[in-house]
């Protein structure tokens, strides 16, 4: 087909709703009889609850109930105990939001405090092995470090970060008899349904979760959090619909975070810049009641040829809330240490940082030994260097404009192309329209738009005739909208279902004596604009054959499963380049320009992919320069739990950024040639910026974020 929808820069199919206020987010639902719920949270980090005084709150006008007994619901932390600062301990319910907020503020929680440790650097915080990330070794890395000749051995820290999507987490729960409907903010409607059902001990089939729009999440709405379960629980208790919206402050302890990390990265190399050994020792904080590990160890093991690698990952359980995946989880953390170190190595051996990486690029996954489905890492590096004007980079401290020092830096990015089994239904209607649907979600990348494009091509219809549906747990099974797996997985399912239903209609036609396509070879039938035709035969519309068979529509539900990945390793690659200015006296770092070059297989929609990529760069700018969840470890409170003090980039921090994708489809990974992008596009960013800051100033900052006090 010549006019494929896939690959065109189509505007978002839901753009009109988004610019008119018509897109419905979870908190926008106000079913009749609604009660507003506000959580009361703990103000100590570890304690036993000895009593909760609700009399004052209950006496207030409009207050329907104050629930303190969470006995009827399974929560991840022990009942009656406080396991972290900000833990939900009661729910105030009232007719208006103002009444509920006030009621919650006068609930008094009595506790017997216990000694708490909330800092991973506390001497009483004991590191334990991660059950998910095993120790790893190949060769003898420690011997390689001794042998040298070039050895770099440094520590890196990354501050805790909160996702801070703009949408506040919200759950509206409504029971009708034993059936529960939940309008929720979630990256996984079916997972949330399952988890709420399990927590409340009701059949999974009785819970329906709806979430057509997500106001950003970045990982924070992946798992099901206590507030979601508690909203459903409260609604059952009071027999009224309940709306529970977390406050911005409550988000900091309520929906996870990127854990604070400590890394040692030691690297040995020859004078030719070839890496001979890597030692990576990594620690992240975790909740005591729940272990969360992330893939921060992967890239130092995987990305570059090094005969000797030793890697250990330890968790430090402390009295804090549970962490969770946040954009580029682990990878961006590990890449910061690895790519900063490579920059240092480049200077030590006096080899250009891009050339240094090219010398160490692996043609196969260094952990599994399998070749990559598509190996375009080196292409990303070369193309990026050329497009960015990397050759103009000067030695450290060599470029000055007035009060500003200017520097360039770069870093590599890589992320596994995660894929999961996924189902979708495709339906062709006799009126010439079509619907594709899957219980997936769209937190911003444009899932619905990409589904429409892939379906249009699979069905031989214009995109305008195809409607995509998602965000409802009653739709065909989908994995969590996370891990940048959505398009590869759901897209493949949509493609498979679309092709299947097209083939079904084609089959009907070629077997139908009344059809102009009768006895045509199905393999030669093409569909264009909903018209089927074959060489030597006439043509007819989908609708013609459906109507003759007395059908309004025909559909097919298909499940797509990824391969086992044993023969080849499916990976996304990229290279990030940054130019910064640093005020020579005031230490202010500003981004002047950035470019990311990526291999993500086929790009279904270049316009939306570009938005996603620059969004990743902006997220990385935040991580590099601004973001840090500040805590007072005397009692474990998060002190900057608001958007004025937890700083994320604003308009003024972000110049025009460039992102580019290498041509090509990775059909060895998915039938549609697509790989993921969402995580990849943040991964090298903090390192590229830190390297640029070094190039500008000669100061190496190994602790994120790089704030001005580190450069004065």
């Amino acid at each position: 087909m010549t006019d494929m929808a896939t690959g065109t820069p189509l505007s978002r199919v839901d753009g009109l709703l988004k610019v008119t206020g018509g897109a419905d987010y979870a908190a926008d639902h106000n079913p009749p009889g609604l009660l507003h719920a506000v959580l009361v949270t703990s103000t100590v980090s570890r304690a036993t609850i000895t009593g909760i005084d609700t009399a004052k709150a209950r006496a207030l006008p409009g207050v329907a109930d104050v629930i303190t007994d969470f006995g009827g619901v399974k929560l991840p932390f022990p009942a009656g105990e406080i396991s972290f600062f900000g833990q939900p301990v009661a729910i105030a319910l009232a007719g208006t939001l103002q009444q509920a907020q006030h009621a919650a503020s006068v609930v008094a929680v009595r506790v017997t405090e216990k000694p708490a440790v909330t800092s991973m650097d506390d001497r009483q915080a004991i590191a334990v092995p991660s059950e998910e990330v095993a120790d790893y070794a190949r060769g003898d890395a420690d011997a390689a470090l001794k042998a040298g000749p070039i050895v770099l051995d440094n520590s890196f820290t990354v501050a805790r970060e909160n996702h801070n999507p703009m949408e506040l987490p919200a759950t509206v729960a409504q029971w009708s008899g034993d059936e529960l409907t939940v309008w929720d903010k979630t990256q996984w409607v079916q997972g949330t349904g399952k988890h709420i059902a399990a927590a409340l001990d009701v059949p999974e089939s009785s819970v329906r979760v709806i979430c057509p729009f997500i106001g950003g999440a970045f990982g924070s709405a992946g798992r099901t959090w206590p507030h979601q379960v508690l909203a459903a629980y409260a609604a059952r208790r009071v027999k009224r619909p309940v709306k529970l919206v977390l406050t911005r402050k409550q988000m900091y302890s309520g929906v996870g975070y990127r854990p604070e990390s400590r890394q040692r990265l030691a690297l040995a190399a020859g004078a030719d810049g070839r890496i001979t050994g890597i030692v990576h020792e990594l620690k992240t904080e975790t909740a005591r009641y729940e272990a969360y590990s992330e893939d921060a160890a992967e890239l130092p093991k995987m990305l570059y040829t090094s005969p000797n690698v030793r890697s250990t990952y330890r968790l430090v359980p402390v009295d804090v809330s549970a962490g969770t995946f946040m954009r580029g989880p682990g990878f961006v953390t590990g890449a910061f240490a690895l790519e900063s170190t490579l920059d240092e190595l480049a200077e030590r051996v006096d080899i250009d940082p891009v050339e240094l990486r090219l010398r160490n690029v692996a043609d196969r996954n260094q952990i599994t030994g399998t070749p990559f489905t598509q190996e375009r890492f080196a292409d990303c590096l070369r193309r990026g260097a050329e497009a960015f004007g990397w050759a103009r980079r000067r030695p450290p401290k060599a470029r000055r404009e007035g009060n500003l020092l200017i520097g360039m830096g770069m870093a590599s990015a890589a992320h596994p192309n995660y894929m999961s089994a996924a189902s979708a239904v495709a339906r062709i209607n006799a009126d010439g329209t079509a619907v594709v649907a899957s219980a997936t979600a769209d937190m911003g990348p444009g899932t619905a738009t990409a589904m429409s494009q892939l379906a249009a091509d699979g069905l031989g219809l214009p995109v305008a005739k195809v409607r995509a549906m998602l965000g409802d747990s009653t739709l065909p099974t989908a994995p969590m909208h996370a891990g940048s797996a959505t398009l590869a997985s759901i897209g493949s399912a949509v493609h498979t279902a679309s092709v299947a239903v097209r083939d079904a209609v084609v089959r009907m036609a070629v077997l139908d004596p009344a059809s102009p396509l009768y006895q045509a070879d199905p393999a030669t039938v093409t569909v264009h604009n909903g018209v089927m035709s074959a060489p030597g035969h006439g043509s007819e519309r989908y609708g013609d054959v459906l109507r003759r068979h007395g059908k309004d529509s025909i559909d097919s539900t298909q499940t797509w499963k990824p391969g086992d990945g044993k023969k080849a390793s499916s990976y996304e690659f990229g290279a990030v380049f940054a130019e910064v200015s640093v005020d020579i006296r005031l230490g202010l770092v500003r981004i002047r320009r950035m470019r990311g070059v990526y291999d993500i297989g086929r790009v279904v929609n270049p316009k939306l992919a570009h938005s996603q990529a620059i969004g990743g760069l902006v997220g990385g700018i935040g991580m590099a320069l601004l973001e840090s969840t500040a805590r007072d470890h005397r009692d474990g409170r998060i002190v900057n739990a608001n958007m004025a003090d937890y700083l994320v980039p604003v308009h003024a921090d972000v110049p025009d950024l460039e992102a580019e994708f290498l041509d090509g489809a990775d059909t060895a990974s998915t039938p549609i040639g697509v790989k993921g992008a969402a995580e990849l596009v943040i991964i090298g960013v903090p390192a590229a910026i830190a390297n640029a800051v070094y190039n500008a100033t000669g100061v190496r900052v190994r602790d994120l974020p790089i704030t001005l006090d580190k450069l004065l």
Partner: protein, 194 residues
């Protein structure tokens, strides 16, 4: 503080500190000639939203944002922080952009409000709405209503001379999806048209 110390019962200090001044005064209207209204009984407010007149009785604590979202069911304006720190709640009040979360509804008797739902005229999108779609000035769409209303204000104020100027004058609207450069392009495009 707690670390290494024996278990202690801090409950009293905690709760007492929390409740200093908790006593509520709603009685005793001032004899000043001002109009006074107690919170719980509700305060009448009438205002025009998107050209439509509304007369409601609200709890005096209600923010303009909550009035729109919870009472008038105009949910296109979003809450991102409720602290004036994100811009998601931006609306035009008597033609000027403001954060609707930090003002009380009862202070706006007689006011004229425009929200995202009222920007299109006669089924025609506002040029900035069209520009947002063209330039893909969003991902998740949650900050979008605030960005667009703020952008309309920014254009009216005449702060669209350059990309740098737009960036500074739009900095009260956070986009965590990072659509900034596309938003700037959209504002620039719409500013040219108007």
């Amino acid at each position: 503080m707690a670390q290494g110390t024996p278990e202690s019962d801090r409950s009293l200090t905690l709760t007492r500190r929390q409740f200093v001044g908790a006593v509520t005064t709603t009685a005793g209207l001032a004899t000043t000639g001002g109009s006074a209204s107690a919170t719980e009984d509700g305060v009448p407010v009438s205002l025009t939203v998107n050209g439509k007149h509304h007369a409601v009785v609200v709890d005096a604590r209600t923010s303009l944002l909550d009035l729109l979202r919870e009472d008038l069911q105009l949910t296109g304006t979003h809450k991102g922080c409720d602290q004036g720190a994100c811009g998601a709640c931006t609306v035009l009040l008597d033609g000027r952009r403001i954060n609707s979360c930090l003002t009380l509804a009862v202070m706006h008797d007689g006011a004229e409000l425009t929200t995202i739902e009222g920007l299109a005229e006669g089924g025609e999108l506002h040029p900035l709405q069209r520009a947002f779609i063209d330039t893909d000035a969003f991902q998740c769409g949650y900050c979008t209503a605030g960005q667009i209303m703020s952008g309309v204000g920014c254009i009216r104020e005449g702060h669209c001379g350059s990309g740098t100027e737009i960036r500074e004058w739009m900095s009260g609207n956070i986009c965590r999806c990072g659509a900034y450069q596309n938003i700037v392009a959209a504002v620039q495009q719409a500013a040219k048209e108007s």
